[in-house]
Symmetry: D2
Amino acid sequence: MSKIPYINNLEEWRSDFKFSIPINIRFSETDMFGHVNNVSPFIYFEEGRIEFMKSVGLFGNLSNDQNDVIPIVADLQCDYHKQMYFNDEINLFIKVNEIGISSFDMHYMALDKHNEICLTGRGRIVSISPANGKPVPLSDEMKQKLLET
Amino acid sequence: MSKIPYINNLEEWRSDFKFSIPINIRFSETDMFGHVNNVSPFIYFEEGRIEFMKSVGLFGNLSNDQNDVIPIVADLQCDYHKQMYFNDEINLFIKVNEIGISSFDMHYMALDKHNEICLTGRGRIVSISPANGKPVPLSDEMKQKLLET
Amino acid sequence: MSKIPYINNLEEWRSDFKFSIPINIRFSETDMFGHVNNVSPFIYFEEGRIEFMKSVGLFGNLSNDQNDVIPIVADLQCDYHKQMYFNDEINLFIKVNEIGISSFDMHYMALDKHNEICLTGRGRIVSISPANGKPVPLSDEMKQKLLET
Amino acid sequence: MSKIPYINNLEEWRSDFKFSIPINIRFSETDMFGHVNNVSPFIYFEEGRIEFMKSVGLFGNLSNDQNDVIPIVADLQCDYHKQMYFNDEINLFIKVNEIGISSFDMHYMALDKHNEICLTGRGRIVSISPANGKPVPLSDEMKQKLLET
């Protein structure tokens, strides 16, 4: 595996994940090259991100008052380490890697049944006010929840 | 081509189409069998349906007052006649086949560059009141527009 | 529920399903109308069809010899009875409704957590020889497997 | 626009694009938040990447002999600068930003009809031998073609 900018120490980075979901690769998510299409991992990242947010009670609710803020995906990236195929048993791991004032980084890792890394990735989530589109600081309670998982 | 329930006379049915759009098959819409995935035609039907509705000035507006009614897809069906592949030049034809009191049938036909039929299909659109979810009769003006194309 | 051409007696038809899978609605499968996009049910039908075929040992194997025949989707149709939303708990039921010489009909029914019907559908699968593209009669063993489930 | 790691000088970076394709946003590519889903830009990047490769005569052909090498997407990333909506007129620009021994970086930029940046992105393509999965040096002819556009 070549050097990934968002991973300093691979063993440490990898062992830091706690939350995961099984990924159900759909036939329509493969392509004519016979494997999972390059777009599909971002579908899985979205699914994992939402399940993670639900698990910490923050889906559709980034502050005490649900209407105060909404989470926006600022960027996303994915490194393709190993081809995935239909019927592969894939687990997607998700963690919060870094928390800023009004945003945080989520990291992603997909492992196959041999525990080999198929995908790694990351993306920044920004807490935004729907009223004016400006970033809103994360509450302490929220930061706590994100860090606990 | 075996008998299709919604086509009485194929030549007549086929010659009745006037409106069409080119279909741009995306790589992610193929699957590991090497051809266009069975789900993808319904993406194309949706694109064609919307372009048709725009062309007659009825997209997002099934009556004189835009908020009176919304169009709902009641059912959809597709017959697969010939495999489609990435890079194929496909044209999708759309027509209104039958107009009822508060609904109408749209028919679909996809031709390849040899003018051979790859797909045929149909689906019913119902005009609904968002307030109570009940069907709303189509206005005469609306019926006129649908028939003209 | 209005009359569906492929359902004679709804109660009977419904009670005849045995096999089902839970459907995991993905966020990317919703659309700007706020509900599950009209294309998405065909993704679920494909997933259900494949899981059903696996469960009877016929996925990628429609005869004794795996390379003799391949299954082809000849047509698909879906009736939309009730809107589905992200986070809805949906179960998709699949059954073989009718077996012909070289093809069979699969029927689909999606229920929400109140056991209300959201979708019904059907589609024909034809057993084809990859060598010449012609239909191949289903073996007795194969028919047996399809009927048992 | 906040600092993007792969863009040094925005004006320079932007003016360096020559090749573009119009993007046809599909209704099924929106989501329940009302805008284009976060996954969809990667569909557009793939479409743009392939059209670019075709335009330089390198699609399905990274060397003189078509079977020698295949292009593999090593990584992909996207920064979301401005929401996109159904019916928006979007142009996607693609360029080769940097050529290495056996790989090159493609950069992406999506502009709306006001010429405002909606998306920026990049991703590495590696030239691989299908026989052993190892990187294969790009030929001089190939490098020439990639640089000319």
